[in-house]
């Protein structure tokens, strides 16, 4: 039988990068920065990590702040999080 406390303390969310989703388990009390680091590792982003952020589908203009918890960010079980570059430019 699953401990209800554990069941609600962590849950899985799909993290999507360049169209590809991968499931990641997150804890309500952990910082978004930690989730972001695991997401970068999940998708083998080894370089230029500072340009990345996690974005919610509905509020895509700005990344979720790194320094707040999963719970404070309003991230819930099954919520799609988009890993993407905060800036794309060239020249």
């Amino acid at each position: 039988m699953v401990n209800p406390a554990i069941e609600t303390a962590s849950f899985e969310v799909p993290i999507i990068y360049n169209g590809v989703p991968k499931e990641e388990r997150v804890r309500r009390d952990e910082l978004i920065a930690a989730v972001l680091q695991r997401a970068l590792h999940l998708f083998h982003v080894r370089d230029r990590q500072h340009v990345y952020g996690l974005f919610k589908a509905a509020t895509g203009g700005s990344p979720i702040p790194d320094n707040i918890t999963v719970h404070a960010a309003g991230v819930e079980k099954g919520m799609e999080l988009f890993l993407r570059e905060k800036q794309v430019q060239g020249g």
């Binding site: 169209g19 989703p21 080894r46 230029r48 895509g60 570059e85 794309v88 430019q89 060239g90």
Partner: protein, 146 residues
């Protein structure tokens, strides 16, 4: 190896030349189905601001684009953009691509992609496993070039 399908090449040139008619840089993103590796069947012209020497894609547009890629099970396989003179990769090009994972390609066109365009004047690179851009021959790495 990228494999161009349908009117991708023609659409790319059309976007780059129309957008670049004002002598500013332009970018086009190449996408394909996730389940068909290497296939590029769509040339997407992003909303962007640009000058003669720089372009920047609108972040609101970029987010909506990422969401649509996911919903349609598609992925970006390459970015293309123009330079005013010769084609190469600047530091900005190196550091701020649309995708930062191994296998992503970047194709640069000289002279705002104006005709006549020679394949040997294009510059193509692919990201390796260490995050480094490796220059490769466009003719040997893109199927479907004229």
């Amino acid at each position: 190896m990228l494999r161009l399908r349908g009117s991708v090449w023609a659409d790319t040139l059309d976007h780059l030349r129309t957008c670049g008619a004002r002598r500013v840089e332009c970018a086009v993103l190449w996408t394909g189905p996730i389940d068909e590796p290497g296939i590029v069947d769509r040339a997407v012209h992003p909303v962007h601001v640009s000058t003669r020497v720089h372009y920047r894609i609108d972040q609101g547009w970029m987010h909506a684009f990422h969401v649509s890629l996911y919903r349609e099970r598609r992925t970006m396989r390459a970015q293309t953009h123009t330079h005013a003179s010769r084609a190469f990769h600047s530091k900005t090009d190196d550091d701020w691509p649309a995708v930062n994972t191994a296998g992503f390609h970047s194709l640069v066109f000289p002279r705002f992609a104006r005709a006549p365009l020679r394949i040997e004047d294009l510059w193509l690179a692919v990201l390796d496993d260490d995050g480094e851009w490796v220059s490769v021959d466009p003719g040997q790495n893109i199927e479907g070039l004229p």
